[in-house]
């Protein structure tokens, strides 16, 4: 499978999850993801499942409290002016959460399938305009910069005793200091790059050169998985 095929597969699965309206329809893309995980990702699929569940769990808890606990009926029942039941509200929450779970799972499975590639290798192998590739690299760079700034700000504040290393009420009270120091860190990092490093080197032009690669033709596996995903989307819609 190529990176472009993987991205197309994930997009179609996500589309399938979006166009279906109920849990029955969502079963089809879930089965497809299970097959993809078994054949293409294998042992690491557990990581994808855990990561996706971790993302959905807080939302599921919140939606259960709001819709099942407080509102007590589904949005459709509210729109129809019906009395409604908590079971219907629960089904609504399950649908929303399963949909989000599928989106996270599809992305994770595809990323794990290409785990042997570095981000730059993955982006270089994509069939995409150079501007889009550069944008993706810069986005990842921005994310890494923020994560690095969080790490060094946290280190500074723990060392100074302003926040605690573990969960604490003090951290909630001083959270704004962490936010401020993170952004100050981001500024100093960005200044270092933009004032000195990048202009001297024309680093972005080097990046463009590094991203240039002959377009990789789609393989049989790409076509097969894409066809399966499209068929699944049709089944999900019809169901």
């Amino acid at each position: 499978m190529t990176p472009s095929g993987g991205i197309a597969f994930a997009l179609v699965v996500i589309g399938a999850a979006m166009i279906t309206g109920d849990l029955v329809g969502l079963a089809a893309p879930l089965v497809l993801c299970a097959v993809f995980a078994t054949l293409e990702v294998r042992d690491r699929a557990v990581t994808a499942l855990a990561w996706s569940a971790g993302i959905v769990a807080p939302l599921a808890l919140f939606l259960c409290i709001v819709w099942v606990g407080v509102v007590g009926r589904s949005p459709e029942e509210i729109a129809a002016g019906a009395t409604g039941t908590r079971v219907a509200a629960l089904a609504h929450v399950a649908t929303v959460c399963t949909r989000l779970f599928l989106v996270a799972l599809a992305i994770q499975l595809v990323l794990l399938h290409f785990a042997c590639m570095t981000p730059l290798q993955f982006i270089r192998a994509m069939r995409a305009p150079s501007g889009l590739k550069r944008l993706l690299v810069l986005t990842l760079s921005w994310i890494d910069t923020i994560l690095h700034a969080v790490d060094r700000s946290r280190t500074a504040l723990i060392t100074a005793g302003i926040i605690a290393p573990r969960l604490s009420v003090k951290n909630a009270a001083h959270g704004f200091i962490l936010v401020q120091t993170v952004w100050l860190s981001v500024i100093t990092i960005a200044l270092g790059r933009l004032r000195d490093k990048w202009p001297a080197e024309n680093t972005l032009a080097r990046l463009d050169e590094a991203l240039q690669a002959p377009p990789q033709p789609l393989r049989f596996a790409d076509g097969a998985w894409l066809a399966a995903a499209i068929a699944t989307a049709i089944v999900a819609k019809v169901a």
Binding site: P119, Q121, S141, R152, Q180, G192, D196, R206
Partner: protein
């Protein structure tokens, strides 16, 4: 091919002279810390190399074997390793020139010698412009340009700092059976047993990436050992649970330690945090203001990131010198500092030990280390041993 050393004291315009010499878009720039040493465009070491590497430039400067480190995030490398990575990237690139602003000062003796040898070899066919405080003379075959010292608003008075230091009895530290590995599985320490006496300076020695900064992070509670105990004055010390109440850190990169946008804000927050735990040791505002002036900062409300890097590095010593904590940890304190400042800092280190503080210093600067009495601790083979 030109090799040029720009010499001179701090604030003499060396960095500006270096930037004037850079051919825009054609020169590899290697600044003192990660943000000016690495491209910032790579999520892994392998990608950083790929951004710069060009066909036909396969034989690079390789002080380290980068293959096993390919999947590491560049930001997780030590300061010295980041410099070595940048030099490797340059050596694999097609750039015809390199400008280096004090970055080589982060390298250990062996790697520094290898880097200078690589830069000095004429057959490699590139220009070099270098600022390095530890090179008293230009290497053979290099040209030397002397920057002219000028009056500066950031001038410091390190002899005056000696008058501001107040005695404090540091507790003895006892570490036994300490193990630490990062979550990635990379083991750093195994079964470390160590006794640290008050009134003593210890110099941590080890190659780039050995775990010197990690040791500091364990002592302040940023990281937690998987096993082992730390005793402070024979009492259990658990900074992860109770917070750091013993160590004042001056970080290798001063921008890694600020707790506010201005010095005034940074200090106010530190004092408040310390006062909440033990108001008796919180340094007074007048002492801090006096120390700040003597370290070259006359306007505490100035934004820290607008100060020159050498000035930021000096003011990063303020909190440790204030006596807020009984143990001081100085991580590569002399990076970017001229000879006079390094001599003054050596005198302060000596004085601090005389009046009861404990001192942990990481430095690859052998000349600086000769300026204060110390005991060497070698980090090697995942343990720390007195030499």
């Amino acid at each position: 091919m030109q090799r040029e050393l720009i010499a001179g004291p701090n604030f003499s315009g060396r960095s500006a002279a270096l930037r004037e010499k850079l051919r825009r878009g054609e020169t590899f720039f290697l600044g003192p810390y990660a943000e000016a040493a690495l491209s910032g465009l790579s999520s892994t070491v392998a990608d950083e190399i790929a951004v710069y590497a060009r066909a036909g430039q396969a034989q690079g400067f390789a002080a380290l074997d980068w293959a096993p480190l390919g999947s590491r995030k560049p930001a997780t490398l030590s300061g010295g390793e980041q410099v070595l990575l940048a030099l490797h990237c340059f050596s694999r690139s097609s750039y015809g020139a390199i400008g280096i602003d004090t970055a080589l000062e982060q390298l250990d003796t062996r790697n520094r010698a290898a880097a200078l040898d690589f830069l000095s070899r004429a057959e490699r066919g590139f220009d070099v412009t270098l600022i390095d405080n530890r090179l008293e003379r230009a290497p053979e075959g290099w040209r030397r340009q002397d920057a002219t010292p000028t009056e500066t608003e950031y001038a410091c008075d390190l002899a005056g700092v000696l008058d501001e230091l107040h005695p404090r009895a540091a507790p003895a530290i006892s570490i036994s059976g300490m193990d630490f590995s990062y979550k990635t599985g990379r083991a750093i320490f195994r079964g470390v047993d160590l006794e640290l006496a008050p009134g003593t300076a210890y110099r941590l020695i080890g190659p780039n990436g050995a775990g010197k900064t990690t040791f500091f992070k364990l002592l302040v509670g940023v990281l937690e050992p998987q096993r082992g105990t730390i005793l402070l004055a024979s009492r259990p010390y658990r900074p992860r649970r109770d917070g750091n109440r013993a160590f004042a850190l001056a970080a290798q990169n001063p921008d890694h330690q600020w707790c506010g946008a201005t010095l005034a804000e940074d200090i106010a927050r530190r004092r408040r945090a310390l006062g909440a735990a033990d108001s008796t040791v919180s340094p007074s505002e007048s002492l801090l203001a006096s120390l700040a002036r003597k370290l070259g900062i006359r306007a505490p409300d100035q934004l820290l990131y607008e100060l020159p890097l050498a000035a930021r590095k000096r003011v990063s010593w303020l909190w440790p010198f204030s006596g807020a904590m009984p143990w001081l940890m100085l991580d590569e304190p002399t990076i970017g500092q001229d000879r006079d400042t390094r001599i003054g800092l050596g005198a302060i280190a000596s004085r601090l030990c005389e009046i009861g503080y404990g001192l942990l210093v990481v430095t690859h600067d052998d000349d600086f280390a000769t300026r204060f009495a110390h005991r060497a601790l070698r980090i090697e083979g995942m343990t720390i041993r007195p030499e």
